[in-house]
Symmetry: C2
Subunit: 341 residues, 2 copies
């Protein structure tokens, strides 16, 4: 059920089988599986998962290709609640490993009206994901106007929509140019790179980019231009205008994993290393979706959720003796004698 400040007290003595940190695609899929394994679970969600911002999920099997990410999340939450899962809107601030349980301190409510309940579970699924850094303009509302429409943050998701279009590449570092621009040319070679004046490009890379005909713009951006959420170009701080038909933002990501700071886990870069079932280097902590090493895709995160929940079920089930048919309630009189041998 939906947990709030009003019914929070009921849950503070309960030890959940699993607390899932994050109510995005991965966390919701995990929650659905956990509840269907007859395990008790709590999803703690800060709101606005990365997929919440996607205006159209083009590549999720089974959903029409214009389904907003927010609709997937809403359906998933309803599905989870229908299986009697607990869902709490809150921000996980701290996790302490107590041996058999974890103590999960969560901020519930806004700023000067917050409470900080401690919730407990045997397992944790880290599903709190990442969020993309956006170009730091004076008027951020101008960025939100187009981000998730034709100003994209994921080449794997939306490269197809950029095919042979005039594309702005909004870079956060030299490394993001090296990693992404030549791959982006698979979809479109009409690339203009914007550095926003935030970093230098070394002469060798600059030469390589020029050799491919890609443009480099180092003057900071004043604002995106367009209407009805369709970006048509950018205006620079010097007043000049560059026409574009689409854009890809690649300025790095914020990783939502501060709450794990006390726990020693194996990482590759910022991503948690897991086995095929999502188990991290800590036996009772699983990681799924964008926080683990792998491909950041909604359908992959949903699959990850199924895997992690299944492994937790196997762990708990294998530590529990099989149940016996104790009662005689169900013995059919017609059951043949041979069956009692």
């Amino acid at each position: 059920m939906q947990i709030s400040r009003k019914n929070l007290d009921q849950r503070q003595d309960h030890i959940y089988d699993t607390i899932v940190v994050g109510g995005g695609a991965g966390g919701l899929s995990a929650g659905i599986y956990l509840q269907r394994y007859n395990l008790s679970s709590l999803i703690i969600d800060k709101g606005k998962a990365r997929s919440y911002w996607m205006q159209e999920l083009h590549n999720y099997l089974g959903l029409p290709p214009d389904t907003p990410g927010s609709e997937l999340l809403k359906h998933g939450k309803d599905h989870y609640l229908s299986l009697n899962g607990d869902f709490l809107n809150g921000f996980v601030e701290d996790v302490v490993d107590e041996g058999d349980t974890f103590a999960v301190t969560t901020k519930v409510g806004r700023n000067n009206n917050s409470v900080y309940p401690v919730l407990r579970s045997k397992y944790i699924i880290v599903a709190s994901g990442i969020i993309d850094q956006l170009p730091p303009l004076e008027d951020m509302q101008n960025v939100y106007e187009y981000a998730g429409y034709n100003l994209h943050v994921c080449m794997v998701c939306d490269g197809y929509e950029m095919t042979d279009k005039k594309c702005g590449f909004f870079a956060g570092s030299e490394a993001s140019i090296e990693e992404m621009v030549f791959n982006l040319s698979w979809f479109t070679p009409y690339i203009t790179i914007f550095t926003h004046g935030m970093f230098e490009i070394n002469p060798q890379l600059r030469q390589q980019l020029e050799d491919h005909g890609y443009r480099i713009v180092e003057t900071p951006i004043k604002q995106f231009l367009g209407e009805n959420h369709q970006m048509t170009g950018v205006e620079l701080t010097d007043g000049s205008v560059i026409e574009l038909e689409t854009g890809l933002i690649s300025m790095g990501s914020k990783y939502h994993n501060d709450y794990l700071h006390r726990i020693n886990l194996d990482y590759k870069g910022n991503n948690l290393i897991t086995d095929k079932m999502g188990r991290t280097s800590h036996d009772r902590i699983f990681a799924i979706g964008d926080l683990k090493v792998g491909l950041n895709q909604v359908v992959v995160a949903a699959g990850d959720g199924a895997l992690a929940a299944t492994q937790i079920w196997r762990d708990i089930r294998n530590a529990t003796p099989p149940r016996r048919w104790e009662e005689n309630l169900f013995i059919s009189e017609q059951l043949p004698v041979s069956s009692y041998q």
Copy 2:
């Protein structure tokens, strides 16, 4: 587009980037990703994937929990065709590794009216899955009447629906009893095991089962009883009747991989061993869904498809020089001078 005998000739000189064998959840998800990577793909589908038989997909994030598997497959196929993927109804009989390409011999059309085109691709995704063996009754129509409704084939999928119900466990071997029955007791301890008289149970296992109060029925089954697709019990060949509320069939699976017989691949049991992206021990053959080692779940297969398609794209992309902005078509007059440095 939908390929048939009529337009098959157009495709016989074409080398696809990837042929996907199997149009189930995994294959369709792979196809959607491949087309969105601007790669050319062909899905060859024999029809009636395992999920086609599922009356209700209870655990697929984003779909209402009463969605039939066939609806997911229909939506996925429409989605794939809308991206200009090629889809052929046929049965893959043979695959020959020609070095840079594979030659895929496919039976199209029924029996005495078949043709056997040879189609070619650089990569193959093995997504042809498995199908469950069903109890071999004289009247198989009687089995189909209930299979996929409350007579289940997958404990992970439908264990929840069996919770604390009188459950028939239809075993194919002693091993299936050892592997499954004690796990099934997680969901319900009211288990009656049916051997159909096909195999013996060793005394030690029999004792263990009896100690847990599970019933064993060794008389063969005559028929399932019930109405409106709801199985309510079985009638044995000796005329006795055993009441049940649900059932789980565990009689092994047919693996749809005969066409791989010429190719030396690494298996674990019957399942193909892959890396995290689905690559088998052959560089250009990927396996996804139920044929690979892993969890047989629709949402996992869909995630697998995204991973395999992405790795194939990376392979092909990395072997292709980045595209250059050759034309002057798109150069904006307003582009500031600094961008040409």
